[in-house]
Symmetry: C2
């Protein structure tokens, strides 16, 4: 994979060096994207900017507005649609010197109907969703950085399936203005890169928060809670093995591993994700549903038809349970410094017809807590399997620090 | 002014009756808007929908996306800009049977540079801002309902200046998707109408929350806190007289009036509105500032230039103070049922060069509490002067109920 920090270091020599890095990304995209199909549209050329991310070619999920490229939302309803303005997160990329490498494929409106993208590790396996193109483009080594969004598990899951590092930051750390909403209480912009080290580097540059480029955490004495999220259902042996592997590694480095029982309030908050998202998605996609129903893909159409039954009362109750869940989450983080859990049920589905399951991601999206994943190991089918690190709301720096410490232990799955 | 509930009652007879009501609004707009300049664009004809708001011609602030009309943001940068989709709140209007009467003038990007709109009570006086056209169109009796948005005081202030009823509901009660953001933690969609009774009727129809069409509150024994918001600075004698008048009326009806001392946490939260808005506005308008700076109007340009100095640390501190303010606000509402305060410093500015001052509105926008205003009286210059009612977060029904009880006492300034 392409390393963002190394590329930036080489590009810092000057504009020619930055241009050369971008040219390399463009060539890699041209060479590989015929198979992987990670990009929905690309600019004619990649011009270098100035700033800490100069020379970094960044993929931008195709539900994020760009003034210079169409924004198709993964749907024929928006085919060729050209927004007026760049979304603030795109302006932040540019202000930091990065260059938009292209728009990356998304499932339609970031829901479950698959994008055309394929998993670089096995072209007939799912790359996950909804940020499919972003994960696959980084995994295939075309680009060192990509933007995704997560409403259920749309950043962490495709990252785990494709074997890349990713962070879903604390809710609203990165602005969602100019991002097509699905559920505004949940929608969160995240990043994908080759490593947690690269994530910290890029996130600090994008936000002007230098503490996010954190040093690796001291694992000795670190209190790590293990959450199996029983309320979410079963995991595959592959994901169980991944969680055991990282727990053993951390324990061997002196971390204190604690098995967490899930408080009832977290199980209830997990259940609340459904009605919360349902009620908001029906509103967010009201125009598309009313005016272009026949053009919606089948899973999304069926979902919206069913979600319409959600009442204001059910929504209010879901919000109440979310608040209670956030309180319970604070109690959890009084006991442990970070939580580790499954990033996905197992390896990527062996089909392009499913984007997999977000059941192990939804609770944390609802709670707004930062979540990160890093490349860890391979499962029985030879596909990447990983885990996620969850931190306290607003402590994204700590999640990055722990992820960096663990990835040093893990080495690289290459 | 045109009464939404009465119009809906007449229109309920059938499509012809609804069409006749819409035709009347269209004729009133044609007759009056040459002077008032409340509309930025209008459809060729107003076709009736079906639902509780059939026959209601509704103005839509021109920062709210509409698929059938351009959305100009009050700025040449978006001149003729045609969004792809209707914003969810516009779809909610249509689903309830209302008809978009046109896009109402807004100050550029809902900031302080005046819109072309004039105050119907005195054409050389300010209608306020930023939802200038919405307030003026209702005040002039062109339409019975209009959508506005408030980030500081952009719904309540123009409503008070123009002498109409308005509600800025609890934060996020109405969806802001498809509304041009200024500060996403603050931006709130609100309604303007002839009376609190009409507001409750329309808000219930738009949200499917029938409890919002509340009966008038029982004033006898109601605990009403009076907040002069000393931390915000001085009010004019006209606004002081308005607050005294409504307090006396309420007391005469048996309400218990309590002078509230402002806790320090509320004064600090008031101050936090600045950096919170600054940090988000710089991001929300990053593309416009970077690519079209010369086309930004002077107040907004100077504001963004200055706001860029706000650091992530200042923003985080402002968010912390906001949370503390919300805690303090809950304590206030343990003591009183509602709070009354100034809606604006006084009568509308006697100039079209200023939209007035939002200092008495900003705290409540920050706290996310519902605020309503109703027509009350005239000031020394013959312009409307009013007050606002503030309720506990999520208790919009109660604010409407109290507003309805008070407007019964007040009668009409017609």
């Amino acid at each position: 994979m392409l390393r963002a920090r190394e590329i930036a270091r080489r590009a810092a020599v000057g504009q020619d060096a930055a241009a050369a890095e971008l040219k390399r990304s463009a060539e890699l995209i041209s060479a590989k994207d015929g198979d992987v199909r990670a990009f929905a549209s690309r600019p004619a050329m990649l011009a270098p900017g100035t700033g800490p991310l100069a020379g970094i070619a960044c993929g931008v999920k195709d539900i994020i507005d760009t003034a210079g490229l169409p924004t198709g939302m993964g749907s024929p309803i928006y085919d060729g649609w050209q927004p007026r303005a760049d979304a603030p997160i795109v302006m932040a990329l540019k202000a930091a010197g990065a260059t938009v490498a292209g728009k990356t494929q998304t499932t339609a409106f970031a829901f479950l109907d698959p994008a055309p993208t394929r998993n670089p590790h096995e072209l007939d396996a799912s790359p996950g969703g909804s940020s499919a193109g972003s994960a696959a483009a980084v995994a295939a080594g075309m680009i060192p950085l990509a933007l995704g969004t997560q409403t259920g598990g749309s950043v962490i899951r495709p990252a785990a399936y494709c074997g890349v590092a990713a962070i879903k930051p604390s809710y609203a750390l990165l602005p969602t203005v100019g991002v097509k909403p699905f559920s505004w209480s949940l929608d969160t912009v995240g990043l994908m890169a080759a490593s947690a080290d690269d994530l910290g580097f890029a996130l600090a540059a994008l936000t002007g928060r230098s503490d996010l480029d954190a040093s690796p955490a001291e694992l000795k004495g670190l209190r790590i809670g293990i959450s199996r999220q029983d309320f979410a259902g079963a995991s595959d042996p592959a994901s169980d093995a991944a969680l055991k592997r990282v727990a053993d590694l951390a324990a061997s480095a002196g971390a204190k591993l604690v098995d967490l029982a899930s408080p009832a309030a977290l199980a209830e908050a997990f259940q609340a994700h459904g009605p919360l998202q349902d009620f908001e998605a029906v509103q967010a996609l009201a125009w598309e549903y009313a005016e272009h129903r026949a053009s919606l893909p089948p899973k999304l159409r069926a979902y919206l038809e069913s979600a319409r039954a959600t009442t204001p009362r059910q929504y209010d109750e879901a919000r109440r349970l979310s608040r209670r869940g956030r309180d319970a989450c604070r109690d959890v983080f009084a006991e442990v410094d970070v939580v580790i859990s499954h990033a996905a049920p197992g390896e990527a589905p062996a089909t392009l017809a499913s984007t997999g399951d977000s059941k192990f991601n939804r609770l944390w999206t609802l709670l707004g807590t930062p979540c990160a994943t890093i490349p860890l190991m391979r499962g029985p089918r030879g596909l990447p399997v990983s885990f996620q690190i969850i931190g306290r709301f607003g402590h994204d720096d700590h999640v990055i620090a722990v992820a960096k410490a663990l990835e040093k232990l893990v080495g690289s799955i290459g």
